[in-house]
Amino acid sequence: MTAPRHGRRIAAAIGTLSIAALTVSACSGTGDQGEGGGSDDPIVIGISLPLTGDFSEPGKGVERGYEAWRDIVNENGGLLGRQVELKILDDQSNADRVVSDYESLIAQDGVDLVFGPFSTRLVVPSARVAQEYGMLFVEPAGAAEEVFEQGFDNLFYAAPAIANDHYNNLADYLLALPEDQRPETAAVAAMDDPFAQGTAYGLRDKLEEAGVEILVNEVYPPNTTDFSTIAAKIAQSDADIVIGGTQYQDAVNLIIALQQLNYQPELAAFSTAPTNPEFAAAIGGATEGILAPTGYSPKSQFPSNVEFVEKYTEMHGNPPSEDEANAYTTGQVVAAAVEAVGCAEQGECQQELIDWLRDNEVETVVGPLSWDETGKPTGAHLIQQWIDGEILIVLPEDVKEADFLFPKPTW
């Protein structure tokens, strides 16, 4: 009896279980919409989402966002006077499924428009299918740089910025400070994950280029739970600022480990976790001054967002989060193109929609969006900071809810 044998056994058992899970999970697409052609027919939009499997949590969030958009559009009289129908298939978080899903949605079901799926891993293969059929492909997720390096000419990311640009407002602020107030050293710790690393490295590289010295640069695997040694390295370096490319539990554990070692940076920026509703309770309220970039805030005052938050809260009892908002944004972007061009069907119309989006700016719930030739949005994320037990927008200046505290108060 040896441990490697257990290992194989466990692996085999896990394999069996996941296959069972795949077989059990049902396909959510129902009904035949037929060919959408006539002007009174509903506009059918084909979507494949990870409703089961690894990405089912965010996948369902995106689904809620798409459905909220459909309901609100239909309530207001539809698109081009036609009602909107969604045809949503479950890709089980599987990149092979996502390809065949979009193939069948476009070729067999003849949907009029498609919306993107969730996650970089699924966005790239599905965008390729859409490209082959010349379909406009607006997607709510897939913020990693590589999405825009594939040479797609039909893809648009419906969010303010890709991961590497999340901190742009913060970087601009720091680099505009007078020389003697600027941070001189930084410590970086990032999860081995393209999104988490993208956010942290975007800021790190901009600071490094401007002469900030990077004293610690750690990468940890996603299964890391003990952060004490990473924290010890950061605390020992006594860097002016700390940047965390984090998801959730890693950020919480790292922040507490840093606090245990009495490390007091002038600035602490962590992606994702600080905007989580559980965050303040998890770290015992010692949140003072922690920063996070966010692509969406239900409190933001963009005109369509007020309506979205109100209607969404009515439907679901709670305000939307970023996944829902990005999905809703996708709907808004496509709708803007459709209304402007005046068509919604396969064929030449798709290229007209693409061309229109290339040249125009769209007002959305995450603010005005426009894109470069690769489909990369040209904006940056809002920067939020924990101030007196609340997370408030502090950058950029024109939409701020509170003044940015730098150096941050002690935590």
Binding site: M1, Y220, Y248
Partner: protein, 294 residues
């Protein structure tokens, strides 16, 4: 690399190793008594951590107090589990089938935790969560110190229990030679049941210690079982002092190796030690006899 950082990492490594030691002690106990590979050990660990969190949320009292309930509860659960499930397995294929059985138990616990407490990641808000003591310029986090203290006390109690009590002698006799133990009048079935209960009781203590300084979620136990399995093989299957020493050594090694290698490669220390042990000293460094039979 400065001396201060080395000292700091050493302290953190010792504190981490202490917790590993307690958890590995329980795991090796099951194997020693019954040749059972208890995949669900770390699932019970997370269950105890969740109970501590839930207790704290409902009552506002320090999670350590939950030990008064969870330790006896886990002991009883262990006895029942051994009597009703594990003892029904055929002796010939016991070790292999116990992997499947306890794997199923682990999945049930994980699923139940997700069902009752959702997959949201939880952490107990403690007033002393970020407090630390100064030790020659290094910081000793209070929560880690408490967890280490709990582990040390529990291990000491376990040692005294096994070494100096009648039950302990009976348990050790059962570990060493079940047939001979039966011949001298030991009810090995009952002893095995209590032994199993004892193993789970260590999981209750370990889980509570863990909950003080960890963000917990239902699937967290998979991160623990691998290193723990490696530790008990290195220490010698069935040897409690072996498991404790191996845990401490590997815990410190992991912590120190993070300095030059970074967190990704430092994790592999458990498996490198495992492979080295299997290649050069398959009976483990402290166990000896027992492991050779497998």
């Amino acid at each position: 690399m400065s001396g201060a950082l080395l000292l700091q990492s050493l302290i953190l490594g010792v504190l981490l190793g202490g917790l590993y030691a307690l958890l590995a002690a329980g795991l090796t106990l099951y194997f020693g008594i019954m040749r059972v590979v208890m995949i669900a050990h770390s699932a019970f660990l997370i269950l105890a951590a969740y109970l501590a969190w839930w207790f704290n949320r409902e009552t506002g009292i320090d999670p350590l107090v939950s030990l008064i309930v969870t330790v006896p509860l886990f002991f009883l659960t262990g006895v029942v589990m051994q009597r009703l499930l594990v003892s029904r397995l055929k002796p010939l294929t016991l070790t292999m089938m116990s992997v499947l059985l306890t794997f199923a138990v682990a999945l049930i616990i994980e699923g139940a935790l997700g069902f009752f407490f959702t997959g949201t990641q939880r952490r107990i808000p403690l007033p002393y969560a970020s407090a630390s003591l100064d030790f020659f310029g290094a910081q000793v986090p209070v929560v880690k110190l408490i967890a280490f203290g709990l582990a040390a006390v529990a291990l000491a109690l376990l040692f005294v229990l096994l070494k100096y009590t009648k039950f302990g002698q009976a348990l050790r006799a059962t570990i060493q030679h079940p047939e001979a133990a039966r011949l001298v009048g030991i009810n090995t079935d009952r002893v095995a049941g209590y032994g199993f209960g004892l193993g789970l009781a260590t999981a209750a203590i370990g889980g509570t210690a863990l909950s003080l300084d960890a963000t917990i979620y239902p699937s967290l136990h998979w991160h623990w079982i691998g290193p723990l399995m490696a530790i008990i093989v290195v220490g010698g299957l069935g040897s409690i002092p072996g498991a404790a020493i191996a845990a401490l050594v590997l815990g410190i090694a992991q912590s120190l190796l993070q300095l030059p290698l970074g967190p990704t490669w430092a994790q592999t220390v458990f498996y490198v030690a495992l492979f080295a042990t299997l290649m050069f000293r398959p009976q483990g460094f402290f166990g000896g006899r027992l492991a050779q039979r497998f």
